[in-house]
Symmetry: C2
Subunit: 197 residues, 2 copies
C-alpha cells in the first residue's frame, strides 16, 4: 500500500506530470520502494479518483498532452497520517536464506556461485545507496534540491539528517548481507574443501 505514499512524498514537493514523476521516482524514492512505470500511471489515476491529487491537463504542441498532478489537502493528510500511523510489516519471505538453509543438498560449486551472486547483488545495492548518500551530502539530488528550496532554513538540517539516516540503514544492511555471504564462502571451503576457483 506504500506506492501511493512514495508518490505523495514526491508530489508534496511540487506538481509533476506522470512522466516526470516516474523519472524522478526511479532516481530517488525508487531506491527504497521500487515501482514499475506501468504501475505508476494507474495508481495516479486511482489517487485522483480518491481525491488525493488533482489533475491539470496541459496541451503539448498540436495534439500532445500531459497530465500534471497536484497534491490536495486530503493527499497531504493521507501522507502525514501514514507517517504518524503504526508501521505494518510483511511476513518474511527470504529466498536467499531459505536456499542457504539447504545448501548441503546443492552442488558445492553452485553453492559458491549462489553466494557470489548474493555478494554481487548486495554490492550493487550498496553502491546505489552510497551514491545516494553522497548526493545527499553534496545536496545535488534533483528532488532533494527542490525539496530544500521549499523548506525553511531550520528544517533543512532535519530533512537531510533523516534521509541520511534512511540510506545509512540500507547501506549497513547491504554490508551485513555481503559479510554473511563471505562467511558462507569460507564455510563451504571448510566443509567441502577449497573450491575450483
Amino acid at each position: 500500500m506504500s506506492l501511493r505514499h512514495a508518490l505523495l512524498a514526491l508530489l508534496r514537493v511540487g506538481p509533476l506530470s506522470g512522466y516526470d514523476l516516474q523519472k524522478q521516482f526511479s532516481q530517488s524514492v525508487g531506491h527504497v520502494w521500487h515501482a514499475a512505470d506501468s504501475q505508476i500511471y494507474p495508481e495516479l489515476r486511482k489517487m485522483a479518483l480518491e481525491g488525493l491529487v488533482t489533475v491539470e491537463e496541459q496541451t503539448r504542441g498540436e495534439r500532445g498532452m500531459r497530465k500534471v498532478y497536484h497534491v490536495t489537502e486530503d493527499g497531504e493528510r493521507a501522507f502525514t497520517d501514514w507517517l504518524d500511523s503504526a508501521p505494518e510489516y510483511q511476513r518474511i519471505r527470504d529466498a536467499a536464506h531459505l536456499r542457504a538453509a539447504y545448501l548441503e543438498s546443492a552442488d558445492p560449486e553452485a553453492a559458491r556461485a549462489f553466494l557470489r551472486a548474493h555478494i554481487a547483488h548486495w554490492e550493487h545495492e550498496l553502491s546505489c545507496w552510497e551514491g545516494e548518500l553522497s548526493h545527499i551530502e553534496a545536496i545535488d539530488n534533483p528532488m532533494l534540491v527542490r525539496r530544500l528550496a521549499v523548506t525553511s532554513e531550520q528544517d533543512r538540517e532535519r530533512t537531510i539528517a533523516y534521509k541520511r539516516f534512511a540510506y545509512d540503514g540500507l547501506a549497513d544492511r547491504a554490508r551485513g548481507e555481503i559479510a554473511w555471504a563471505e562467511r558462507g564462502l569460507r564455510l563451504i571451503d571448510e566443509l567441502e574443501g577449497p573450491g575450483a576457483r
Copy 2:
C-alpha cells in the same frame, strides 16, 4: 515461486499429510518463508498436477480422510535444480526505510513510536531465530531430527552447519535493524530535543 521449494524441502525428508505439513511448516521453514494455511493446500494440489508429488489418500475412521504427499523424482529434481540455479532477487520495497526518509514531516512522538515498533518487531524476529538456532544446536527441532535420521553420518555436520549459517544471517540482520532504529531514536533526541518518554 519459492513456496513449492519450501514445501519440497520438508517433504523430501519423508511423506506428510497436508495438515502435518502445514504444522511443520510454521515451525521450521516458515521462519524463513512464510505461507498461510490457505495457500499450502492449493499449492500441493498444483504440485501433484505437475508431477512433483504424488498423493496417497488415507481413510481416517468412518468417513474422514487425509492426503499424504510423497516427493517424486521430478520433485526431487525440481528442488535440487532450484538450489543449483541462479538466485532471483525481489525489487526493493521497504516501508520502514521509506518512512524513515521522511520523518522530518512526522510528529516527533510518532517518529519515536515508529522506531520503537521497529525495534519491537525485529526483537521478536530475533528471538524466533535465536530460538531456532538453539534448537539447531541442541538438535531438537522435530523436522531437523527427522532429517538427520535419514542423513548419513558424514553429512550431518554439513546439514547442521548450513542451517546455523542461514539462521545466523537472519539474526545478524535483525540485530542490524535494531541498532539502526536505536541510532534513529538518538537522532530524534538530537534534532527535536529529548522526548516525553
